[in-house]
Symmetry: C2
Subunit: 409 residues, 2 copies
């Protein structure tokens, strides 16, 4: 008899009919004798509807009240899911975040979980009930409702699995697992059977849209193995866990891409200590996320600093930097919003040289120019002209033979 | 500097524009230096939308989950109302029932308030904030969300006023006060300036739709004077409080009517002890509300028992009583669903004889036949053929000269 935590996102519970379907799936697992915890999001569209109401009233609504508002979305789903389970003869009980309770800090809109008391939930599980928990939300020390931000329901599921010492954590999504590349780009992309937390972190951070990075970080920190599965079709999905050293890992697990990168270059900066800080500090103060950063030492004690951001932030960033450029006596600041970033990720990279060589050769053979390179222990990312994105992903998928499953060697 | 509790129902907060309008009204009172508590319902239509979703899933949904579901309606309103106040530069903070907390028993769907802790709310008020509270909802000792049933938001407002020892409690509705009769029936019906709790209880119980009887009971029990006002126009409304003996009261305060009464008569019941119980017990067991009850002693030790119910319950009641009639060896059971009930209410009635005489004469002069009579200390009710309802109300309004304001004599 296993204790299983299952997470269903907004699309999976997007209608009464879909809620019924998920209830039948949960019923089946419960009938097999498993203790079931179901973590759900708001029905798809509901959060946007609520935010729309807030937006009609206030252009910059208070984060506390927005949390109170949008958290009703999941509360509706837990009630409906419990009712659907009751209809199938399954005893079920709903829990809003404050009822578990899932205690968080007070940073509304992106609160972090501080503590979860599993006692009440565990008592219901031991009494044979299915427990249905509202994802994405918690309660702070002042009894105010908080939300965890994007991907919050994944985080709730992983956190509940950790708190309850669950045997399994299943993240149901609209894809049937994590792929070696986006199947819309690479025809023979392959579902990956196993990934390490590190790989999943790098893939999520580098553009794979399957799961938010915070949930993966949480899973990694508390060593909660989880499986990414489709809520619409059967399958084993992808299991993400800590590295299993008994198994030979493939060199590269997957290739991921981001198509909305923009590049900002400040040219001719007098090269003295602290210039990177002078340039990047106003950018991060404005909550603009900086991705890759490169500094080229030039001639005449002048240097160029280049960094990448989301293209939506480009205009704002250029406006922010105009006065900085004048102040630093630099030559100019220029932006380019037509970039894509391609990353190859794999823990096997650690122990094998030559990954970068293979990558650069594959791109060069297709005539693709690399603009910026950045590397981590298990990831190499490059930016290229956006026009070449699909071509580059396919070339790399071929070069690393990702369509072939890596067996145990 | 007064502490004022204001209640706004679903119609008053039925759109973003209306919420903004209420916010401006609250702002004005706050700017005058008052400490403001605003109790709100779900936006009109929202509760029905949510119940519709539950109904799609389950024909008899669990009351606990329904409470979790529908309580989101008021939670949406408190957030939006707080945001609207913020936009006007008014510091405001929302409270769901569990955040106050408003503690109730565990009877989902019609929970009773057991305790309210006013400390948190009071601290916010003392810090100059407007406090916005979700009506209709509370939390039980198991941390489950409960709802108070019909008129629950009125009850929340009155209960908060009691807990905070408010100087004023204002119930904003879609009418501008309590009237001597329904203005749609009686052209010269007059808004009543003052009513006692008892009168308001009898009026509410006898069909006046301004306020639910439970809220009035609560106000009476805790001696919370409140004012019924229109949220759409200015005015002083009707003040309801304990009787002010220094003031001469009018004989009759108002006339109210119910147009959906039905009558059930069991004829020829052998007259022995316990027959009323045998007949009425199965009816009340089926949660059918019995209003008036009359027993006529007949000839031959046979008796007729007549009672009135809501006409929607008539068929079910007749079906229930068929076997009872056989069992009691009574003659027959017959129903009549074309009744109306007219009540005259007034504390002045206590000290004056002749009210009934005036009433019966006025009806007889119009050729209106009285079927059943029932009386309380400050109310006389009669049932008549529904066709005569408007005629009867107008005749009584004239007979008691209710269009003339009763001054202090």
């Amino acid at each position: 008899m296993a204790l299983i935590v299952e997470k269903y996102g907004g699309t999976s519970v997007g209608s009464v009919e879909r809620i019924r379907k998920i209830a039948r799936r949960v019923q089946a697992s419960w009938q097999e004798g498993n203790r079931m915890v179901v973590v759900v999001s708001a029905m798809s569209g509901e959060t946007n509807r609520l935010l729309g109401l807030a937006g009609e009233i206030s252009p910059r609504p208070s984060a506390r009240e927005v949390d109170t508002l949008v958290s009703t979305g999941e509360q509706v789903t837990i009630a409906l899911m419990s009712l659907a389970l009751h209809e199938l003869g399954v005893p079920a009980r709903s829990y809003a975040g404050f009822q578990v309770p899932i205690k968080t800090d007070s940073i509304h809109g992106k609160a972090r979980i501080e503590d979860i008391s599993g006692e009440r939930v565990m008592a219901d599980l031991e009494a044979g009930k299915v427990v249905v928990i509202a994802g994405f939300q918690g309660i702070d020390s002042e009894n105010a409702i908080t939300t965890l931000g994007r991907g919050g329901t994944d985080t709730t599921a992983v956190a509940m699995a950790a708190a309850l010492k669950a045997d399994e954590c299943r993240i149901f999504t609209d894809v049937d697992g994590v792929y070696t590349a986006d199947p819309r780009i690479v025809e023979n992309a392959r579902r990956i059977d196993y990934l390490t937390f590190e790989e999943m972190l790098e893939l999520s951070g580098a553009g794979a849209r399957v799961m938010q990075i915070r949930a993966v970080e949480f899973a990694s920190k508390y060593d909660v193995a989880f499986r990414v599965l489709s809520s619409f079709e059967d399958g084993v999905g992808t299991l993400i866990s800590c590295e299993d050293s008994s198994m030979e890992r493939p060199l590269i697990s997957g290739i991921t891409s981001v198509d909305n990168e923009a590049k900002v270059t400040i040219r001719g900066v007098p090269d003295r200590p602290g210039i990177a800080y002078s340039i990047l500090n106003p950018v991060s103060e404005a909550h603009i996320n900086v991705d890759m950063i490169v500094q080229n030492v030039g001639t005449d004690s002048l240097t160029d600093l280049t960094f990448t951001i989301n293209q939506d932030d480009l205009e704002r960033t250029l406006a922010l930097l105009e006065p900085v450029v004048r102040e630093l006596d630099a030559e100019t600041v220029v932006g380019d919003s037509s970039l894509a970033k391609i990353s190859v990720v794999g823990v096997g990279m650690r122990s094998h040289a030559g990954i970068a060589t293979t990558m650069f050769r594959a791109l060069s053979e297709k005539g693709i120019n690399i603009q910026i390179i950045s590397t981590s222990e298990i990831k190499i990312s490059v930016t290229i002209d956006r026009e070449y994105l699909e071509l580059a992903v396919r070339a790399l998928h071929n070069a690393f033979e990702l369509h072939v499953a890596a067996g145990i060697e």
